[in-house]
């Protein structure tokens, strides 16, 4: 078991390294500098040359790459061209926002997705199942940002039920005690988290329904019924425990979805998280920040997958016992 974890960890590190390398060189090809936005040269050439030297951009690319990796290994992600402060500081501001959004979305995704999937499987091919199946397909086939925009338009713009963007109301929060500010933050969180969570839940429900149906057809479910158990216990204990195992893998797969989804949703809802930061940085050709967001995103995805694998191994007695 421990050898297996070591192997998986090595693979995870290799993946993160590959992602960083790819981002680094791709961005270099795209060009850009601390001298100004896009192709507009806003500073004098000699100032620009000094800035380039300051950021080490006058060195050969291999040297830059080596230095960058070395610095990253020591916890230094460099300086932001655009924000003129350490990248770490920019990430430090954005990260909690993303974690709150993605965490809430993940919660909605799995609670709603699992519940719907189990309900659908229990009523397979009847009205409730078909109606929910079509609704899930509809949500699933819409682009995330478009769903976000529609929700924003309906609930924010027309119905004025929720704020249209940001994480909180700074004016309001300045006057309120922290407890009330939490309420305001949740208020702001509702729509972006729901957008991301709903899209995830639609996929999770479809997957969970299929997993449940597969399990329900198995012999041991018939054994459970033959024992005289209630149908609820047959489904929620005997069948679900088995159908949850594949969903743990789904949990791992949800991370890449959340990372890419967060980029779109954060942009639509002006939610200053990692995705929003990445989009802003790309617009500003702020490579150190873009590379760092790629590093963190790939790190999150691989750690998520690793976690899912470990939990799976711990949850399935057939693997658990053999490995112990």
């Amino acid at each position: 078991m421990s050898a297996w974890i070591v192997r998986r960890l090595a693979a995870a590190i290799a993946i993160v390294l590959a992602a960083v390398t790819l981002t680094f060189f791709l961005l270099h090809l795209a060009g850009g500098s601390p001298c100004g936005q896009r192709d507009v040269q806003s500073v004098a050439p000699e100032v620009c040359a000094r800035l380039r030297a300051q950021f080490g951009l006058d060195r050969p690319i291999w040297e830059q790459y080596g230095k960058y990796l070395w610095a990253v290994l020591h916890g230094d992600l460099g300086q932001s061209f655009w924000q003129r402060r350490p990248v770490i500081a920019a990430l430090g501001d954005a990260m909690p926002n993303t974690l709150v959004l993605a965490g809430t979305a993940l919660l909605i995704d799995f609670t709603l997705g699992l519940a719907l999937g189990v309900y659908q499987a229990a009523r397979a091919r009847r009205f409730g199942d078909i109606a929910l199946g079509n609704a899930a397909l509809f949500v699933n086939s819409m682009p995330t940002f478009w769903l976000g925009l529609v929700l924003l338009l309906v609930f924010g713009q027309w119905l004025h039920l929720v704020p249209v963007g940001g994480t909180h109301d700074p004016v309001l929060c300045a006057r309120l005690d922290s407890l009330h500010c939490v309420g305001d933050r949740l208020w702001h969180l509702a729509l972006p988290a729901l957008t991301l969570g709903l899209v995830g839940a639609a996929a999770t429900a479809r997957y969970q329904r299929a997993a449940m149906l597969e399990v329900i057809a198995q012999d041991f479910v018939r054994t459970a019924r033959a024992k005289g158990l209630r149908e609820r216990r047959v489904l929620l204990v005997h069948a679900l425990r088995n159908a949850l195992l594949p969903s743990i893998t789904l949990f791992g797969l949800a991370f890449p979805f959340l990372v890419t989804g967060a980029v779109l949703v954060e942009w639509v809802f002006a939610w200053p998280g990692m995705g929003w930061l990445a989009v802003m940085a790309i617009g500003q050709r702020d490579y150190p920040v873009v590379t760092a967001t790629a590093l963190v995103a790939s790190g999150m995805v691989t750690v998520g997958n690793l976690l899912a694998d470990v939990v799976y191994a711990a949850a399935d007695p057939r693997i658990r016992v053999r490995g112990a």
């Binding site: 198995q218 041991f220 018939r222 054994t223 459970a224 033959a226 005289g228 158990l229 195992l245 399935d316």
Partner: protein, 342 residues
Amino acid sequence: MTEPLLRVRDLKTYFVTEHGSGTARAVDGVSFEVYPGETLGLVGESGCGKTVTSLSILRLIPEPPGHIRPGSFIEFEGRNLLTLAPRELRAIRGNRIAMIFQEPMTSLNPVFTVGDQIAEAAIVHQGLSRRRARARAVEMLKLVGIPDPAERVDHYPHQMSGGMRQRVMIAMALVCHPKLLIADEPTTALDVTIQAQILELLDRLQRDLGMAVMLITHDLGVVAGTADRVVVMYAGEVVEQAATGELFARPLHPYTEGLMASVPRIDTRVSQVRGRLHSIPGQVPAATAWPAGCRFHPRCPYAWDRCRQEAPPPLDAGAGEPGAHTVRCWLLTEPQRRSARA
């Protein structure tokens, strides 16, 4: 004679097949009874409806595609199981009637320990505490001859062999001391030596616990050693039923004759033959298209015109009490045809 424990009358269980190939009449008018404490053997080739019959008794038929036709009647301890409310039915399942299945490898839940799975029925039906139920599970494992029961109780099914799992299934079925045990080919999936052990175990437990057993098999050799009475099924119908001694002494249906010819030594407890019946030409037709007339006529060496046109009802063979030995065969009305062929 005593009242039967279970009385099945005109049971019809049909399946509506998806790709429009019609309705599979898997069980089509089956009647028999099981008396308290006896062993009833239910015999027939693969696909003749044995499993569907036994699942119908506990209403475990997947619905859709299956359904039990109106007019069917299954009476257990004086109550019609087919009209019971779900609550009352649950009180019978696993408690008064228990079942063990054909497939020991897949009939246990892989994510629960065998102890938990055995204890579950005791908790649900007898209201035992978890601790008491666990102690009962250990007792049951010991009863079915599993070594180190106190340790095995915490094992998962995948840690056990097929024979062990079938013992666990038996322990699970018997934990509430049911009045009737339905054993659907409990040994088909097991090695021959293990088969004999499991059958002996069932035999011993039946005597100790005083329950009735409905033993389903495609092997007449198994039935000869264990059953008091035998019901022979073919193509969704009961074609012959009689006391075991009577049946082996005087098999009247040509299908029963064929089954017997395929068992090399019917006096052995466990036959060495598994599955295939070489002495009956052809195979069981599809349940969606039973032959007209007598369903066995395409494979019957004696068949004549009447057999092709008219389905025989169960006819009394006139041995002992009325209904003690019945046969669905026109040969009973014209016995000279049998000797003419022989």
